[in-house]
Point group: C2
Chain length 305, copies 2
């Protein structure tokens, strides 16, 4: 049986959504190199039974943390442009992220008008810190989409480390968000707290909970660990210890990430909460990127098996 397209899976809050997230190549890369990267990426993803591909919109987040960024910030191609010009061979939907603060409202509404809801979904991300000047803020962007392109499926980000995040989710839902994608998950306990709070708050209001897609990422080196912490991800001490001490931190991280996936899947299924997974690599190291493809395959087997 053919699986319904991503937009329908999310609209119907069907469980088991599987996404994979990539960051477009650097803006400075020559076009031949960009083509090569796109081909290699699609090759790598072809065997995976993905419901869609997330394309991140990278913002310079140096304002969120004054400490030096462990991996350097390099401007990347616009995800919509990368999609249009280089991912023509990708026949499944894409979820285009928009750091809305980077764009003026004219620019944003032009893009909204032009995109094809059969192939494209979007997730709007607000500014990384309140102090940063935002050309469009999150609410304005959500209102714009509501006015210009209400048929474009819109998602919101969820960060389990924030208090009252479940209330923020409900507010986003009222402003048109039909699904959520989490930040990288390492603290299963906090994530369960959030899902549980959200689920029961929905029940109390008589609102149907929307799918939450949990982002999983391996952490196979101290450098990656350092980066995760720089990003503000809550990495439990025991997980940090195991990356520091394990003979093979990548294998250790793989094992623990699969255990987290099983735990969250079990938790959501028992609760009756629609969920899915998004697999990404925050690292730019080859071994971690390759293991990430294996992880996506194994998480896919967990969801569909």
């Amino acid at each position: 049986m053919t699986r319904p397209p991503l937009a329908r899976l999310l609209a119907e809050a069907q469980p088991g959504v599987l996404l994979f997230a990539i960051t477009p190549p650097r803006r400075s890369a020559p076009v031949e190199r960009v083509k090569e990267i796109a081909a290699v990426t699609l090759d790598r993803l072809a065997p995976l039974d993905l419901d869609g591909l997330i394309l991140y919109d990278i913002d310079d987040e140096s304002d969120r943390n004054p400490a030096e960024r462990p991996f350097p910030y390099l401007p990347t191609l616009d995800p919509a442009v990368y999609h249009a010009e280089h991912l023509g061979d990708w026949d499944r939907p894409v979820v285009i992220y928009r750091c809305v603060g980077k764009y003026g409202s004219r620019e944003l509404s032009d893009w909204l008008r032009g995109c094809d809801p059969e192939r494209v979904l979007s997730v709007f991300v607000g500014a990384s810190s309140g102090d940063k000047p935002a050309r469009t803020d999150l609410r304005e962007a959500q209102a714009l989409r509501q006015a210009v392109r209400p048929d474009l499926p819109l998602g919101g980000v969820v960060i389990s480390e924030r208090t009252d995040e479940h209330l923020r989710m409900l507010a986003k839902q009222e402003r048109g968000c039909g699904f959520f994608v989490s930040q990288v998950v390492y603290d299963v306990n906090e994530t369960k707290n959030l899902v549980s709070d959200y689920f029961y708050a929905c029940a109390a209001r008589g609102v149907a909970p929307r799918t939450v897609v949990f982002t999983l990422s391996l952490c196979g080196s101290l450098k990656t660990l350092e980066f995760l912490r720089w990003l503000g991800v809550d990495v439990p001490r025991w997980f940090q210890n195991s990356v520091r001490h394990a003979a093979d931190p990548l294998a250790e991280s793989y094992r623990q990430t699969m255990a987290m996936a099983r735990d969250l899947a079990d938790f959501c299924e028992h609760l009756g909460m629609p969920y899915g997974f998004n697999i990404e690599s925050v690292s730019i190291r080859k071994a971690e990127i390759e293991a990430t493809t294996d992880l996506a395959a194994e998480v896919g087997a967990l969801l569909r098996g």
Copy 2:
């Protein structure tokens, strides 16, 4: 093959120790009632493949929390007396708790001299708050045992909610503790943090880690939840939500507790950390006590299966 006695399992840090903990009957109960309780208890425990029975020494802990105690404090029989006079039919070892602050050093050393290390182990518990006048403090009691009865296997309590608890464990170990029994565990993440910190601190010092016995207890009602929180146990919000909302909180708690047991067993085995479980009921409700026996059987199957 016959399983080695508890003292040897702990001395050799063999994995898979299974204990069950009970609180002696109220001091005000008529002797006939005490006999009856002992018989019913031993009947209930007989089918379980326990390595030993923990007998708690209950202290009036009202000083630790000014809020009203959800289950009333009632003085209970001395665990050593209960053991000697009523548990003659129990042919396996017992771990007698001693809230050392309740006893003078003469009283404590008399007891230490009189007990049989073939049948008895002990766990010393310090005062529940620093302000409380203690007749003997924890270090004095540990020194006393070292002087009077070094052959009596001694354990210490561990509370994963405390910061730097792993350093406290190492210090207790230097003062003669050969194993640890945790407070009731509900926050697996914090417990893993503690075990991980302890394990790697042992490795850094070239010290062999001692067995940690994790205490599991069901929470099948709001009253029990209230009591756990009064005791200072860190119960994750998602767990609290599920007890509040589940149609059958006891079944829900049972399911979650087994999941915790599997998670901790898997974690310790992978790390190479010696561990075991202790099953108890903090509740005095019949349904919860009965489900606790089932829990012990299923945890036993997990350990020995």
